[in-house]
Subunit: 338 residues, 4 copies
Amino acid sequence: MIVILKKGAQPEAVARLEEILRAKGVTANHIEGATQNIIGLVGDTSRIDVDSLMVQDCVESIRRVQEPYKQANRKFHPDDTAIPVRDCIIGNGSLQVIAGPCSVETEDQIMKTAIACKKAGATMLRGGAFKPRTSPYSFQGLGKEGLDLLIQARKETGLPIVTEIMNGADLDLFADIDVIQVGARNMQNFELLKALGKSDKPVLLKRGLANTMEELLMSAEYIMAGGNQNIILCERGIRTFETWTRNTLDISAVPLLKQKTHLPICIDPSHAAGIASLVEPLSLSAIVAGADALEIEVHCDPKSALSDASQQLTPEKFESVMSNIRKMADFLGRPMGK
Amino acid sequence: MIVILKKGAQPEAVARLEEILRAKGVTANHIEGATQNIIGLVGDTSRIDVDSLMVQDCVESIRRVQEPYKQANRKFHPDDTAIPVRDCIIGNGSLQVIAGPCSVETEDQIMKTAIACKKAGATMLRGGAFKPRTSPYSFQGLGKEGLDLLIQARKETGLPIVTEIMNGADLDLFADIDVIQVGARNMQNFELLKALGKSDKPVLLKRGLANTMEELLMSAEYIMAGGNQNIILCERGIRTFETWTRNTLDISAVPLLKQKTHLPICIDPSHAAGIASLVEPLSLSAIVAGADALEIEVHCDPKSALSDASQQLTPEKFESVMSNIRKMADFLGRPMGK
Amino acid sequence: MIVILKKGAQPEAVARLEEILRAKGVTANHIEGATQNIIGLVGDTSRIDVDSLMVQDCVESIRRVQEPYKQANRKFHPDDTAIPVRDCIIGNGSLQVIAGPCSVETEDQIMKTAIACKKAGATMLRGGAFKPRTSPYSFQGLGKEGLDLLIQARKETGLPIVTEIMNGADLDLFADIDVIQVGARNMQNFELLKALGKSDKPVLLKRGLANTMEELLMSAEYIMAGGNQNIILCERGIRTFETWTRNTLDISAVPLLKQKTHLPICIDPSHAAGIASLVEPLSLSAIVAGADALEIEVHCDPKSALSDASQQLTPEKFESVMSNIRKMADFLGRPMGK
Amino acid sequence: MIVILKKGAQPEAVARLEEILRAKGVTANHIEGATQNIIGLVGDTSRIDVDSLMVQDCVESIRRVQEPYKQANRKFHPDDTAIPVRDCIIGNGSLQVIAGPCSVETEDQIMKTAIACKKAGATMLRGGAFKPRTSPYSFQGLGKEGLDLLIQARKETGLPIVTEIMNGADLDLFADIDVIQVGARNMQNFELLKALGKSDKPVLLKRGLANTMEELLMSAEYIMAGGNQNIILCERGIRTFETWTRNTLDISAVPLLKQKTHLPICIDPSHAAGIASLVEPLSLSAIVAGADALEIEVHCDPKSALSDASQQLTPEKFESVMSNIRKMADFLGRPMGK
C-alpha cells in the first residue's frame, strides 16, 4: 500500500500518520520526490482500511498494491480447483453443459425437458424453483415443490441438478440439491453468502449486473472465508448502454479470471444476450475462451414458458447447438462431463 | 401493448396468436401498414408476459404502452404520500435531514455523534448495525448490540432512528426501529422485500448501483403489493465509468420520480460521491431539485471511523453544512422536520 | 410508427395531430383501448421526426417500429457484402488478419514488423501514422511520413495497408492507402464520415466507446448515403465500469450485427482488452462467433514502443497466436486471406 | 509514479528497468516490502509512457501519482479563470444563461426566439448552424447561412452568440462568432481541438457521452497546449443504462471540476435529460452546485422545430424558468451577465 502525501504536508501531521501506521503493525518507508512525498507501507496491509487513512490531514491519496482477495487468489493457490459434482467434475479441463428450463413449471414440463437435455448431451440439469422476478406480479416459481420435481428428474436422467437459492433460511431445503446457484441480483447479498460459507455444497456464483471481476472474487471470498471452497464463478452478462441485447457478455472475463483465480468459470449465454439465436455463437466463443462450463436455457415448449420465453431453446435447437459444441470440444481435446 | 408482426407472417400463425390473446382476455385490433402489420391490444395487459408473445412465430417485436408498476404509480394515486415517523413527516413538503455515522461503533461514538447531529439540526438519526461490506475481512457491524445503542441514542436525543436490514429473518430485531433501510445491494433481494411487505414500518429503499428508476419502482411495488405502503425512495448514486467519484449521483431522478410516483424521495450525497467535500453542494442541489429528505454521514471522529471514513463529516463541518441547508430550506419555504 | 395518446386527450388536439400526419403523407389508424388510445402510422415514416410529434399536446409517447438505417440493413440487402482489398476479400467467408504496430515509428520498425507479420501469416498490414492520443504531450504519429513508410512496407511484403484518418481534409494523402480506418473517437465525427462517403476506398469503421450497435450502423449509413458502400464494421470494446480491462469486448456484436446488416465485421482484440495475453483467446472467440477479420497489434519490439506498449504482441508471440488462429480457421473451413 | 515489481523479479531485469528510468531523467527509490518490492520515481514523470514500463519483464503494475493535465490544473493555477465575451464575463462569480434554439432554422425563427430570450433575461444566444445528427437523413443545419442569421440576431438583441463547429477547416467562417462550441461527439476530435488551440476565441467544450472528467480536462489541455486559454467546460449528461432520461446529468462534476481546474463550468440541462419539464429543476440544481453558466434550449415554436423538439422550451416556459433562476441567483448573491 502506498500513501501519497499532500504538497506541504505538516511534519506533525505526517508524524501522527506514522504513529497510526506503526500501531497497525506496518512499517513506513519514505520517498522524497521533487514535487511530492510518498510513503510505502511494508507488512500485512490487508487489515488497513483505505478510507481511514484517506482522512488524515496530510494524505492526498492511497494506492493499493495487493489484491484484497486471498483464498480465491491464484497467486496463493496456483493449481486449478476441480469440483466434483456426482459423476461430473468442473474445472479439470472437461466441459460441462448445464441445461434446462428457466423455471420448473410442471412435472410434465421438467421431465420432458430433462430427458431432452440428457438425450442431446447435457451433463447437468438446471431449473428454477425460487425465481427472482423484477415484478411482484410475475410467476415466482414453485418453491419447495420445484425442488422435489428436480430431484425426480435427476432420478429419471441421472443428471446432477443445479438450482437457485434466494434466502439463507431456505438452506435446509437444498440438502439434496447438487449445486446451489446464487443469482446475479444476490451476488452481494452478504447474509446469503455467509450462510453458504457454512455449507459444503458447490456454489455457482453469478456475477452481478454491474459488478467488477474483483467484486465477484470478493463475493467468492465471503463463501470461502466461511469454509466452503467449492465455488464456480459464472459470467452472465453485465449491464451497459447497449439495448439490442439484454446484457453484454464480458467474454474477456473468462481468460482474465483464469489468470487471477484458481476457481472454475461458467458462462451463461442465455441470460447474457436474452436472444435464443445468439446462444450457439456465444457458447462456442466461451468454450474457445476457456470456460469450464456453460449454462443454457432449454424448454420443451418455449412458447408456453412462464418466464424468459424468448431466450430458451427448443429441444431440437438445443440438439443442434450441442452437436456443434461437441465438435468444438473434440477439436480442443476437452472431454465432456468428466 | 402493441405487437409488431413479421413481414410475410403466415395467416395461420397470426390466427394462433389471436387465439392466445383472446384466451388472456384482451382484444386485438389490426392495423395494416404499407410495410408491416401491427396488432394493438386492448384490455388488461398487465398479466401478459412479453417474452411469451415474443416467441410466437409471427411476432417481430412487442412494445409496452403502460407502466408495469401500479401501486407506486402517480397516475393511479395523484396525491403525494406523506409518511409519519414519530414527530417527523416525510413527503409533506417539509425537509428531513437524516444524519449519523456509517456504522455504530461504540456507545461513546454513537451518543456523541447523535448529540452533535441533533444540535446541528438533524431531524433523524442514522447508523449501521448490520453492515454490507465488499470484503469478508472488513468490520461487519455490531448487529443486535448496534440496534440497542441506536435506541439508547434516540432516548437521549429524541431523534427517530433509521438503520439497515440485511436479512428478512432479522425483522423481529427491528421492532423498535423507526425506519428500516434497504441498501443498494439488496434492492432486488426480493425475499427481503417480501418480508418488509408484511411489516408496517416505513422503509427507506435505496436504488441499486445499476438499476433504472423503473426497477426501483418495481422493487417498491414488491413491498406495496405485500401491504406496506410506507416507502421512501432513495437515490444514492449509480455506477458509471467515471472514477473520480465513487458513484454518479443521478440528480434527475428527483424531479422525474416525483412525476412518476407519489412516494417521497431521499438523496444520499455521502454515498453518491464518496467525498466529504461534495456533501454540501450535492445536498443543496438535491433540495432545490425537490428532494423530501437527505441522508448524510456524520461521525464524531471520522479519522478513527471503522468504515467509509473519507465520506463522513465532522460535527463542525456538518454544522456548517446544516446552516446552509437551513438557509436554502427557508428560502424555498420548506419547514424542517415537521 | 405508433403514437400513444394521453388519457383524456382533447379531440381538437388529436384532430390537429392527424392533420400534421396527413401533411407528412402518412395515414393514421385509430385503436380505441380500454385505458388508452393509440394511432398506428402507415406509410413512409422515415422522415418523421419523433421529437416533433412528442411535443403535440395529445401525445404521451411514440414507438418506432422500423429501423432508421436503410442501406446498411440486411432486410433490404439480404446478401453479404464482400469487399475486395487488392488480393484479399473481406466478407466472403474467408478470414483476414490485419496485423502491425499501433504506430509507425521508424523505417526500421515498420519494415521489421511488416516482414514478421507477413511471415507469421497476416494477410494485411496496419500501422498508425495519424494518432489520436488522449494527451497532447504524447507521441502524435509521423503523419504523411508514416503513410509513405507504410507504402514502402507494402512494396516489400505485398500486404495491403490499413491506417487511420483523423481529418477529412487529409483525404488526398490517403490516395494510395488500401483501407482507411475511422477510430472509435471519430465514429460520430459526421464531417469525416461525409468526406469518406465521397471516396470509394474501403473504410474500417470502429464502434465508439459508448455507442450502440444501432448508432454504429447509422454512422455506416452516413458513409453509404454519400455513395461509398465499402464499409467494414469493427467492434473494439466498449466502456463499462469494469477496470481490469481497458474496455469490454462486446462479442455478441458479431452474431447480432451479422443478423442486422450485410456488412462484414472485424474484431480488434488488442484495443478491446488492452492486455497482450488476452489477444489469443479473444481472437479465437471472435472467429468462432463469425468475425470476418481480426485487427491485431504487433510490434517488433513492444518494450520500446511509443504507444500502447502493453497490448502489442512480439513477433514470436504473434506467430504462436497465428498458429492457433490458422488451426481454428481450418477447423471451421474458412480460408485465410482470399 | 510508482512501479510495483513482480514477486521474484530477476535482479537483471530490475537493473535494466532502472537504466531505462535513468535515461528518462527520473530517479528510482526502492522500497523492500514483506511480499512485494516497489520503486518510487522522482522527477518529471509526465513524459514517461505507462505502457512502455508495463511491458518490462519485472513490472507488475504502475500507479500514477500526478495528474496528466498541467495548464488546466488548479494546482498550478489557483485563481479562477474569467473569460470575457463581449459585455459578459464567464467565471467571475456571475451567472450566464446561454439560451436559444437547438438549430437555426429560418430568419423569422431565430429573430423571434432571440428577442424572446433577451426579454426573458438570457445573457447570451445559442443556435446550431452545423448540426451533428445521428442520421444522415435528418436536418443537417443551415451552415454558413445559419451563422449569418445568428450575427443578425446579435445585431438586433446585443446578445453574444455561441454556436458549434464540426470541422477545423471551417474555422474562418467563425471569425465573427463570440464563443465556439465543441459538441460532445467531438470532444476527442483531436484535429479539431488542435485547430481551436491556434484560435483565440473562447471555446465551450462539451464532455463526451462516455468520457471521464479527467479526459475532459485532457481535451481542454489540447486546446491550451496550442495557446488558447479561453475554455469553458460543459457537462451535458453522460450515457448510462438509465433509459427514462436521454443521458444522466453528472451534477457532481460541477463542484469536483471546480476543485481540479480553474476553468469555468457550464451545465446544459436540456441535453442532459432531453425532457423540457426537467430543465428548471436541473438548472436550479446546477446553479446551487456552483455552475458559472447554463445553456438552455428555447424555441419560439417547439412543436414545429426541426430537431430536439421535445427538450426545447417555449418562450413562456423559459420566462417562468428564468424568473426562478433569477430569484436563486439573487439569493446566492450572484449577478447575472456581468
